[in-house]
């Protein structure tokens, strides 16, 4: 059970009781005390989230999904398929209009319910999905359309078929495409950013991250299983991995955080999506001023300096500077 959902449940129980008291006309001190308690509890639950709580927030069943972002665009015309094998429903892309800008949108799509999740493979992209992404990125570059991506995946699909069809090559191919497309690339980490499968569409000139999204080298469960042979220690692993938006802003891995309402983005999804679009729009307008050669050069230098190593003894920090 999702930790955040559990808390929302206990909160809503209190709120129901509060409503009942209100109905029966019971006011006064008792009522006020309960009201204060609900407020305090809400602040307590959601005011300052631990990394593990954010993992739960990023996986919250009501969290806005890529489809909600695509639905908020002025126009979206989906383009299907990798032209080789099949259309991967976990990776949705196509032409779109965002605040008047013609763009190419790419997104990782989880399902809202079990049935849709099965169809969309829980947002885990297969090689043909990454090949579709590469194809659409090249298309965007040919027609001078900026590339806008929405990242929400627990990771690339780890199945037999994906290995048979060269998942490594497909992800590497996506990254290679993003290294040379001479149009602005703006990535938004809106839910889960699961390792290489997320990065494949997030090598970008400007990386936006939702406050409660997570972006990690490994899933906390996987990390805990490797470190301690016990995936139940995922909350501890989440602390170690430095996967929150604040950590990543500090490392220079993300460029901007979009704050979420208390309790998470799903409490006011439309307004939140609007703020993400605001951030994307600002980035697009700034990046549009750069000629392609400068854009590519800046992109190269941006990633060139990320890291942290010692040169002999003094610590030289790339992304930490």
């Amino acid at each position: 059970m999702n930790l955040i959902v559990e808390r929302e449940k206990s909160l809503s129980e209190l709120e129901t009781r509060l409503a009942q008291l209100h109905e029966r006309g019971i006011g006064g001190d008792e009522m006020r005390a309960l009201e204060t308690k609900v407020q305090e509890l809400r602040q307590d639950f959601f005011g300052k989230l631990t990394p593990w709580e954010r993992v739960n927030m990023a996986r919250h069943p009501k969290r806005p999904l890529a489809s909600d972002y695509l639905g908020a665009l002025e126009a979206f015309d989906e383009l299907h398929g990798d032209r080789h094998f099949r259309d991967d429903p976990a990776l949705v892309g196509g032409f779109a209009k965002l605040r008047g800008h013609n763009v190419m949108v790419l997104s990782q799509q989880k399902g809202r319910d079990t049935k849709e999740n099965i169809r969309r493979n829980f947002g885990m992209v297969s090689p043909e999905g990454y090949r579709k992404a590469s194809r659409l990125m090249e298309l965007a570059a040919r027609f001078h359309l900026p590339i806008v991506t929405f990242v929400d995946t627990s990771g690339a699909d780890p199945g037999i078929g994906s290995e048979e069809r060269a998942q490594s090559e497909a992800i590497s191919g996506c990254l290679m495409t993003l290294t040379h497309v001479g149009v602005p690339v703006v990535a938004s980490i809106v839910g889960e950013g699961g390792s290489g499968g997320a990065l494949a569409i997030a090598l970008a000139d400007h990386v936006i991250m939702a406050e409660n999204a997570v972006y990690s080298v490994a899933s906390p469960e996987g990390c805990a299983a490797i470190l301690w042979g016990d995936s139940a220690r995922a909350p501890e692993a989440a602390e170690h991995l430095k996967l929150t938006s604040n950590d990543l802003l500090g490392f220079g891995i993300v460029d901007e955080i979009v704050p979420e309402p208390l309790g998470g983005a799903h409490h006011d999804a439309a307004a939140f999506i609007g703020r993400v679009f605001d951030a994307i729009e600002r980035a697009l307008e700034r990046l549009a001023l750069l000629p392609p050669a400068d854009l590519l050069d800046t992109r190269y230098r941006k990633y060139r300096r990320i890291g942290s190593w010692r040169e002999d003894s003094p610590v030289r920090a790339g992304g930490l500077a």
Binding site: S195, L227, D312
Partner: protein, 294 residues
Amino acid sequence: MPAPDWLRKRRERDASADDASLWQKCPKCSEMLYRKDIVANLWVCSRCGYHFRMHAYDRINTLVDGDFVEIGTDILPGDPLGWTDKRPYPQKLERDREKSKLSEAVVTGFATLDGFPVALGVMDFNFRGGTMGTVVGERITNLLEEARRRRLPCIIFTASGGARMEEGMLALMQMAKTTLAVERFKDEGNLYIAVLTDPTTGGVSASFAFAADLIVAEARAAIGFAGRRVIEQTIRQKLPENFQTAEFLLEKGHVDMVLDRRELRPALVRLLDYAVDRKRLATPLKAVPEFAIQ
């Protein structure tokens, strides 16, 4: 064959690098092998053809004509996340340094192969499972940039369990960094050959490894994106034995060739000969003063 100068110098520093044990058992066919015979046979079992994992310096020594000029040795790991699990990350690094006699999971430098000057990178599974942290990313990127500057072909031997968890997202970002370097390198008409050795998975296979012009896999090497155990846990069934082997990848069309280690060097020389104009290459290695052996 006496060890070349560059290797002897390293061995003097790391006295224990020459394994003292005389015999070694083949893990595949259980044959007891005389250690000197294993080495003479390029760390391949003379009975069943099992490929032992090779130390990076041994690998380089069996490939290059003579000299090897190492670069990047001043780029050393820090502890950006202040990571501790069962023990602190710096302690793990120290232990691996002692065990492997390496300063990190990749060795980079310049050498000649049958007269062809090349940039050479060799990863080593003995150091943190060959995982890519920021030092591996930085050294690989440096190697590609230096090779590009000199218009030299680049050969990288991969062996990796993926991205290095103890460096978190900084490790993951090395996938982006190295891929950017590969793209620039290739874009100017330079040849990049990846040799995938056992094992090559995760963040390394999904970035600079599969971005090569030519991909050669060493016989029987395990190569893939997801680890075997992860897939088995996901699908809840055992995978066939040949799944994710070099031979499996060849059949599926993912690699250009699969080679027995003993055929590797002549094959690389042939590939260089097809794709690289010897006359176009920069001056011989020794004439580059900044790469004079320290």
